[in-house]
Structure formats: structure tokens, C-alpha cells
Symmetry: C2
Subunit: 336 residues, 2 copies
DNA sequence: TTGAAAGCGCTAACAT
DNA sequence: ATGTTAGCGCTTTCAA
């Protein structure tokens, strides 16, 4: 690896001269600058990031902790985060908590010692269930900027990026009611999560307030040990007269649609289905799934923006911000 | 941030004593060790990784460059890489080339200055098309260990992890022939990639050698600008008598299946379909898609293993290894 | 215009 | 058993 020292020796000047020359410092004569830069280029000199960071206490690196990269929502969020970070000259160190609190804690600990300038985190399922947030609050106490997205907590005082989960599910349910549906069932695998609870409440609220709706609300939860397909099958077994399904995660809607078609329900004549996802998880189904569309790219980008703003004004004690990203109800082929 | 110096001052000992005490050095008295570790724990001391790395020239970080995180194959590979790396005490810095050569080059450059100990890379599409591999060979010239996976090149002398693309497609095609299929069509969106070419050749070879097969081989390519669905539709329009489809990417098989069902083909009676993917991209279709199954977790894990081996024996000039991960032909519902 | 020196936080060889 | 020193590669103040 070629260092300033190498260059300095080759050129018979001091290290500090080289350093300044590479930065086009006014202090250095044009000829020297020329010579230094020429050699640097020739030898493909690149400043050692570790040394620069150690010196400056800035790493230009963001630690990103994602619960589950196999979930398309998080893959897309990571995509957006990387793109936006990269645009601003930041690298990302990615850790995957795999929904485990221990992994989340370890990653946070490991990186909070000068490895990153700040964190973007979506909270692991286990952490949300236990509601043990010490490790996250420890980061805040160390004054390391933190942005939470999607899976957030009121008990952590930091910048956040969320969607209006309650409102989105509420709107979708209201749409189904306005279609004249009388037996609307909710299905999902995220009841443990903050977002899952909000979405479920949005559904319950809409059902409760629906005039002329007599059925009780029904919620089917897919647990870790369950197979999505089995729960879907059970739903249809137990509710042959179901006329609308709202899915609050990004796979069970597709599963419900496939099962419904297999059982010869007419979609959307007999049965409406609304999924919850960034875009159609399966763009190839027929009919195409209607969805509550969350703008995942915006979620990722906003997270980076909030973090970088905070990084720039670390002294300023701005109030922490919560940014809510709009959702859309996109009616495609599985609603009337 | 609490440093050795802080601890040393508080305890009235020298920095080096603290450093050694934290490592349970024999040189230090048990009492001192006790005192030091107690305070370190109390103050939640964590060694600064930058300083340790700068000193030791080892970062315990792997640079991972992925062409497209929205492709489930790469998401899963990243999942496996992170898991295996983490198991061995390595962090990963993730860069997404988004199939662009420029981004791939930038990331490689940026991280090759002491930020990472080695790289795991799958080559961007643009890079493979242009076949401009200077940036990768530059890494090798700097003696930075590099492992390529999936999308590799003969012109780069490094460790590699691949699957037997030719053999897998060959076997799948032979299966279709043995089913008695007479009009087997290949579809895919990766003709530009090394793996795409190999898979296509595997198909062509099988067709050529199939006794009693009279049709010419037919290949449908989905270009960047095309929509998968449109190409699938075109395939069925132009070949109403198609009786088997083999997909060499991980989405077009699903699209073909959905389209076939919509067109009222009987699957698998009239038409067999074989996809190419880790697992069923859409586990909810009916019938379930038969696939060439690539063991993506193994691909990711092996990449990490090869890299770590190389890192441990950087002096040893072992021959570079290419590891081939087995594939399986998994016959589910879309083959006879 | 250039260079010397200190220091970021840590380790390790070499005193004491 | 503990401390001093030098140095990883870089930046920056201060001196020449």
C-alpha cells in the first residue's frame, strides 16, 4: 500500500508537504503540487481511510441494521439506503439481526466504537416482543445519531421514518366496506410488531365504525411455526363465506389469492383481496393484486437524509423528527 | 468515547499497562488486572476499531459487492455471507453495483485502501458485457484477496464459487425430453451473463443430442427494456404448441406458469415448466413450480470460507480454487 | 514555501 | 510488574 511517506521519500519532500500538495493547498508551490500529484496518480495513491477516520473522528460510514434481508421490503429499503448514502459519499456497513435481539445488540455494540458515524435501524421482532430497548437507548446516550425506520418505538427518542400504518389499513378496510363487503377478514404474520398492531387497529377501527356491518372482525395470525399456506387454507375452511381479505404483510395476500383461485372463488366478483407491499410482490398473478403501496424507496432515502442532517448538525439540539411517508391504495384486479 | 488513556488516568497507571491488563497479560499483576477490567466494564470501554485496524493492518471486515439486491438470489447470498462472516468475527461492508461497471469500480477503489481485508464480488452485468476487468485485476495485483461468486470470469485469477450452470440446464432439458416433450423453449433475462450463456449452452447441447427430437431449439430473451410478461405472452403467441418451457432466471418461470394457466394450458399435462431458483420464488402457486434448485446458502457460505482461508494463509501461494456447488432438479407440480 | 512535531487510539518491543 | 517509546497513516498547528 502506497502512503504519504512513500511519496515524500521519492520526491525528497516532507510528508506534510505531500499532504498539503494533494489538497491543492495555497501554501505549496504550483510546481511541487504538480510533482506530488503526478507521482500520486502514477502510483495510484489512495489515502488510508482508517487513518483519516482516526484522525478526524469521522468515518463517512453508516451502520445499517436490518431485521430480515429475505423480506422484500427490507431488501428494497436497503437498496434505497445504499443508493442515497452512496450519493452523499457515505458507505454502509450492513448487519442483519435476523430478528434476534442478541444480534442487534452485538452489532450495535461492535460498531459503536468509532466504526460508523451513525445508525439506521429497523427493530428486530424479538426486541419488539421483549420491548427491551436498552441497547438502542445506549446508542443515544453515547450521542451517536440514530434513525429508526418502519419498526420504531415511542420509548426511543430519535429521528424516525414511518408510514401511517393505522391510516393505511383503515383506508383499505373502508374501501372494502364501501364495496359492500360483509365479511372482511384480516390476515398477517406480524402481529408482534409495532406496525402489525397499528395496521390491525386500523382494520378494527374501520370495521367498528362501518354502518350496516354486522360481522365481528376476524384476524388470522400466521405464527413463526405456521406455514402461510396452511393458515390461508384454514381461513377459507372456517369462513367459506368470506368476501374480502386484507393482508397486512407482503406475502399472505398473494398466498390468499392463489388459494382463492384454486378454490374457484371469483376474484374480485365474489371476493376482494388487498395486500400490503411496496409493489406487487408477484407482478405476474392474474388478476393482479390490489395493494396498499408503501413507498419503500422514499422510506430508505428519508432515513438517510435524516441521519445525514443530524450528522451535519450534531451540536444543534433540534427536536427529533418523525417523518411519515405517504401510502397509496392501489386498486388493481382483486378489488371491484 | 472512552479510551485507554481515560482508564489509565483514572487508575494512575500507564496506557500500556491498561492495554495489557485488558488482555489478561501474564506481565500484569492480578490486582491490577482486576482494577483495570472493573473500570473498563464500568465505563463500558470498547477498543476503537479504527485504531486497532490501523495498527494491525487487519480490519476484520469483508467488502461485498452485489449486482442487484432486489434479485432474490443475491439477497439470499448476502444473507448467507453475512451470517457466515459474522460467525467468524467479520463484518461486511456492502456495496451494490446495481449492474453498473462504474459503481463496481468505485466501490472497489474506495475500499481497497485499508477498509477491508478482502472482497467477495459477483460481477455486474455491464462489466460482463464490456468484459472490462481491469478494476478487478487491479485488486489482485494489490494482493487483496478476492472471491468471485456466480458471475465469474476466466480472465481473473482468484478463488471462485460457481454452480454447474451448463450441467444443470442440460439435466433439466434432458428431463423434459425424457417426458416426451417435442417443443421445448428456453426463456430468460440473463443472456448477457456468463451464467446465462452456460445455461443456454446446456439447453442447446441437450436438444442437439436428443434422439427423435425434430424441432429447432428456441430461445426467448427478455431484454432490459422488455417486460417479462410481454415476452412470455409473445412466446405463447408465436408457439401455441409449446409443450415445455425452461426458465434460466428466477422469475420468468413463474411468469410463464401464470400466463399458461391464464391461457388454459393444462400444467403439467400439456405443458411442463422448469424454473431456475434457490427455492420456489412463489411458494404459493398452484401447481408448484418445478425448479433447478441452486443452493444459495452454500454459495454464500463457501465464498466466505474461501476468502477467510485465503486471508489466513496470505503468504501461501496456493493455487486458486474454484468450488462448484451442486444443484438439484426438484420436480414439483409443473413437470410430469 | 516547506518542514517538524504532536496527536488520533492502540500495540508491542524494549527498558526499568 | 509497570512504564517508556515508537509507530500504524494521516492532518494540522506552529516554526523555520
Amino acid at each position: 500500500m502506497v502512503t504519504l511517506k512513500h511519496l515524500a521519500e521519492q520526491l525528497n519532500v516532507s510528508v506534510s508537504t505531500v499532504s498539503k500538495a494533494l489538497k491543492n493547498s495555497e501554501e505549496i508551490s504550483p510546481e511541487t503540487i504538480e510533482r506530488v500529484q503526478a507521482l500520486a496518480k502514477f502510483l495510484n495513491y489512495k489515502p488510508n481511510r482508517l487513518a483519516v477516520s482516526l484522525k478526524s473522528s469521522r468515518t463517512n460510514t453508516i451502520g445499517v441494521i436490518i431485521p430480515n434481508i429475505l423480506n422484500h421490503f427490507f431488501a428494497k429499503a436497503l437498496f434505497a439506503i445504499e443508493q442515497e448514502a452512496s450519493k452523499h459519499g457515505y458507505n454502509i456497513i450492513t448487519c442483519l439481526s435476523n430478528e434476534k435481539q442478541s444480534k442487534e445488540t452485538d452489532s450495535l455494540q461492535l460498531l459503536s466504537n468509532g466504526s460508523v458515524d451513525g445508525f439506521i435501524v429497523s427493530i428486530a421482532e424479538e426486541t419488539q416482543i421483549n420491548n427491551n430497548l436498552d441497547h438502542l437507548n445506549a446508542i443515544i446516550r453515547q450521542n451517536i445519531p440514530l434513525v429508526l425506520f418502519d419498526r420504531v418505538s415511542d420509548e426511543i427518542n430519535c429521528d424516525k421514518v414511518v408510514i401511517d400504518d393505522f391510516g393505511a389499513a383503515n383506508e383499505a378496510t373502508n374501501h372494502l366496506v364501501s364495496e359492500g363487503r360483509k365479511n372482511i377478514i384480516l390476515i398477517g404474520d406480524i402481529e408482534n410488531l409495532s406496525v402489525g398492531k397499528l395496521r390491525t387497529n386500523g382494520y378494527l377501527d374501520a370495521i367498528e365504525k362501518a354502518s350496516g356491518y354486522s360481522e365481528n372482525p376476524k384476524v388470522y395470525t400466521i405464527k413463526k411455526k405456521d406455514k402461510v399456506e396452511d393458515v390461508v387454507t384454514q381461513l377459507f375452511d372456517e369462513n367459506p363465506k368470506v368476501d374480502a381479505i386484507i393482508s397486512i404483510d407482503n406475502v399472505s395476500g398473494v398466498a390468499a389469492l392463489q388459494k382463492a383461485l384454486q378454490l374457484n372463488y371469483k376474484v374480485p366478483e365474489d371476493l376482494s383481496i388487498i395486500g400490503f407491499s411496496d409493489e406487487n410482490v408477484l407482478p405476474f398473478t392474474y388478476p393482479k393484486l390490489s395493494t396498499i403501496s408503501q413507498h419503500t424507496i422514499d422510506i430508505g432515502k428519508s432515513s438517510v437524509s435524516l441521519l445525514i442532517d443530524r450528522l451535519k448538525n450534531e451540536d444543534e439540539t433540534d427536536k427529533m423528527k418523525t417523518k411519515t411517508i405517504k401510502t397509496n391504495l392501489v386498486l388493481r384486479g382483486t378489488t371491484k
